[in-house]
Symmetry: D2
Subunit: 92 residues, 4 copies
């Protein structure tokens, strides 16, 4: 079973929390808060998104490259190529 | 008038678009998509959030440091100190 | 006097330390160290360079935008435009 | 043979180029150049270091996780654990 399936409840909880942070940014803009306050909220949401990305990446490394177990996991070569493509778009 | 007030409609539209990207990530996890696909969506949402941060930061630099015009904008010293605090938390 | 002039000895010491880290990476590659070790050294040098950037940026914010004192410091508008250009190239 | 050994000449050339960029930053500080100019050089050196990191990371993914070939390459589990540790220190 895919790691994002196994960890689905935990990952969904994280995404929803970040969505809540976005709603907070929206409310701060609506309420015409000072830009420094809005910026702190954006930095925090971005940090949380980075944490989520790292979490999913770690699962990908283990389940799709180091140790694929299901036929649906694909080959190691595919998993490695996918991760490399993601790192290239992320580390621009 | 504060830059985040002047640009409120544009900034709100951007935040809502990013919130939509978060909902897309949630749906991809619910639908048990492959982690590479989820990762591409996370990288895209994170890039959009970085763009929003830069936008608000630019307004802050102009309205609160270079050229504060309203009494409510605060002093240049305050604006500079706020930006420095944000850069420190962002550029860890 | 420009902040990078006033803080010249401290900034030069930092740049030289980072140059030393680069020499360490070169030696690790020459000695055919394991890539994980090389990567840790690269991450450390990159972190140090980020710290240096933040330091110079903070001086720029104070001396060229919030509080320019010498004629050679240029106008606030110029300082703000320069910082925005740098943030755009950095936060891609 | 380890990927950093196979690609040693190319990687060394890259590290030396970045070292040259650091020397350029040192000269700019010595010559008391305007901070905006120093900042552009720092952003460029940091970008080059990110590119080097990605290059070594890609080799690590292929040689130490997806497809280790030599006994000296270590196990896939070791390679995966090393990459995860590096991503954690990098994506703080």
């Amino acid at each position: 079973m895919n790691h994002t399936v196994r960890e689905k409840p935990k990952l969904l909880a994280r995404v929803r929390r970040i969505r809540g942070q976005l709603e907070g940014i929206e409310r701060a803009l609506e309420a015409e808060k000072r830009s420094a306050e809005v910026l702190h909220q954006i930095v925090a949401a971005r940090g949380a998104l980075t944490g989520l990305m790292r979490e999913v990446m770690e699962g990908h490394i283990n389940s799709h490259i180091a140790n694929p177990q299901d036929p649906g996991d694909g080959t190691r070569e595919q998993g490695a190529a996918e991760l490399i493509a993601i790192l290239r778009s992320y580390m621009k």
